[in-house]
Amino acid sequence: MNRPGVDRSGTGASAAPATGGGRIRTPLPFPTAAAPAVADTQLRANLHRATRTIRGKRARVVDEVPDWEALRDAGAAIKADVQRRLPELLEQFEASATAAGATVHWARDAAEACRIVVELTRAAGADEVVKVKSMATQEIELNEALEAAGIAAYETDLAELIVQLGDDTPSHILVPAIHYNRAQIREIFHRRMPDAPADLSDEPSALAEAARAHLRRRFLSARVAVSGANFAIADTGTLVVVESEGNGRMCLTLPETLISVVGVEKLLPTFTDLEVFLQLLPRSSTGERMNPYTSMWTGVTPGDGPQSVHVVLVDNGRSAVLADPVGRPTLSCIRCSACLNVCPVYERAGGHAYGSVYPGPIGAILSPQLTGVADNASLPYASTLCGACYDVCPVKINIPEILVHLRQQAPHPLAERATMRVLSWVMRSPRRWAAALRLARAGAGPLGAYRERRTGARTLRRLPWPASAWTRSRDLPLPAPQTFREWWDQQ
């Protein structure tokens, strides 16, 4: 059997695990990719309104849970336990799911996972699949692989459908079409959904009704469905999908063949562990006390639901994350997207700037670890380290700490490295530092006096590159006429 490169000893002693592929790389550096979003006032307004609404809802429903902090601790502890004994739990899951009638497949990377799904779909004699919204299948670029194999993949989650019809990519983990407003969505339906009513309005209920009618035909004709899973329970072999619209349940019950693509980190040891996560996830993601639909299935139930059930367990770089003790808690992520909704950088830059299917703060640490930091070197810097993400994370991933950890590994620009080394050499010596302060103050003295005489302010307004990055939007203070230590010495 084809196993992923999970280090079964848990010591990281084996050869370095392979990095992942798929849509997890920034094609452009983050600052470059963010520029058009920052300049797009419509997008900025859409993101501001949407993230503000969701974070308000989340804060309200979290505040009403008296043991929220204890729940977070429990969630983090269960996930840490999973990470400590992942190989063992994966084997347990495989045994339980197989005993229940499912077939478990192992995929080392994105390409292998796609190949397995294509082969299974072909074996089922289908040339189309319906899909439940799934980050893992977005990650491995399954729709593209299916299309290349002549198989049509239809997204059935409303927001995923909007993005698919718009020939776009998702820009948020929970709300993939967050970057559109309803007028833009109406326009996409009008243009790309052949059975949309001619007089379709931009009322959310009318848009949802049009999508519902459109999707109903797909559900009834599809013979193969592809899903992800929010959780995979090791002791029972159960898969769990949590959703809001009910489209997922249609996909999970109507077709003959069900193929679930699941990241290896989704394991939970026991069925009772779900209790913690079914409280943490909906409140953190949609700001609901409980999500409308929770579907669970364990292998095959004769005469009911899909009779051919497959689970594809995907590594795609996760073993490499597991092998790093500092980065490892990244695998605790339950894809709730609370960190995106509170992130001031995400709110201005939008999801596409992160390049990967995982945007926002979690994407800034997950994507570089899956690909290797050198391939996503700008992402660990796409944060001010303000810490809002760590405060809301339901499983307490210390995102700022991991960002700083990844910055150590990122390739540094030569000029920056030289500057940092010189500064370090100066600042490690009190004598050199005091001299540098005198020098800076003396050098700025005439300039400061000049500016002060002309404008009354000791600030600079326009500087050449690289300081222009600062002065394009803010004045720069000049060194004071007297440093603190000079004042101290005078006393």
């Binding site: 983050f30 963010a34 810097y381 001010t384 809002a388 150590q408 600042m427 603190f484």
Partner: protein
């Protein structure tokens, strides 16, 4: 109690007034303060930009310089957070001295048990709780407790106060567009208050927001809150 001042690199060079203010407040309260001149910088910029090895000499220098003091006070939330949160991980022997390092409001409220420092500052002031003070040190309303006792002050609430201003150290240089977008929103919230003075606990954030306010000729002054606590009468 032997109190030492840690006047951060940015303060020493560009904002000596903040260090002078801290000295005056503590002396006014009857304490003797020392400024060990062998101090340099906490190393935050290096560590947070990904240059841990280059930060380490500064970490060790800090421990050497301040180890003998009962309390070390720094008028900077982010430098204090660097020392308290990161030092013990970077250099375990730094843990005891890191635990005795306080942001100004922690020293005054928690260690010295004072909220009224005898200040007078007749101005409308709004307060921005900077991210590291807010979320790493959990300063809470300590700075506001101190400001509320200032004679003549009129404190006005800042909208979306807990949102980052977009400075983020080298973030402002590496991601200038996003940083500017965040700054623009922060400056707008500051102007919405109608206050004439913006106070905060970090001169680097204040340099960023103040630089933005100056660029838009808003007429709002960005001031470290220590300078308000040191004031005794008409504004300087």
């Amino acid at each position: 109690m032997r109190i030492a001042l840690f006047i951060t690199c940015v303060n020493d060079l560009a904002y000596p007034g903040t260090g002078i203010a801290v000295t005056r407040i503590l002396r006014r309260l009857g304490h003797t303060v020392d400024f060990p001149t062998d101090q340099t910088c906490c190393g935050q910029m290096h560590a947070n930009t990904g240059y841990r090895a280059e930060a380490m000499p500064m970490v060790r220098n800090y421990v050497d310089v301040f180890d003998e003091y009962d309390a070390i006070v720094a008028p900077s939330g982010s430098c204090t957070a660097m020392i308290r949160d990161q030092y013990p991980r970077l250099h375990p022997p730094a843990a005891p001295v890191a635990a005795r390092t306080y942001e100004l409001s922690e020293l005054l409220v928690d260690v010295l048990g004072v909220t009224d420092v005898g200040a007078e500052f007749p101005e409308t002031v709004t307060y921005h709780p900077t991210c590291h003070g807010l979320r790493m040190l959990r300063l809470g309303d300590r700075p506001l407790k101190l400001l509320r006792q200032v004679r003549g002050i009129q404190l006005v609430e800042l909208g979306d106060a807990e949102e980052c201003c977009g400075f983020g150290g080298t973030f402002a240089l590496k991601n200038p567009d996003v940083s500017t977008a965040m700054l623009t929103d922060k400056c707008a919230r500051v102007r919405d208050t109608g206050a004439r003075v913006l106070a905060a606990a970090d001169n680097s954030c204040l340099a960023h927001i103040g630089g933005g306010l100056d660029r838009h000729r808003s007429g709002v002054r960005a001031v470290h809150y220590a300078e308000i606590l040191a004031a005794t009468g008409a504004t300087s």
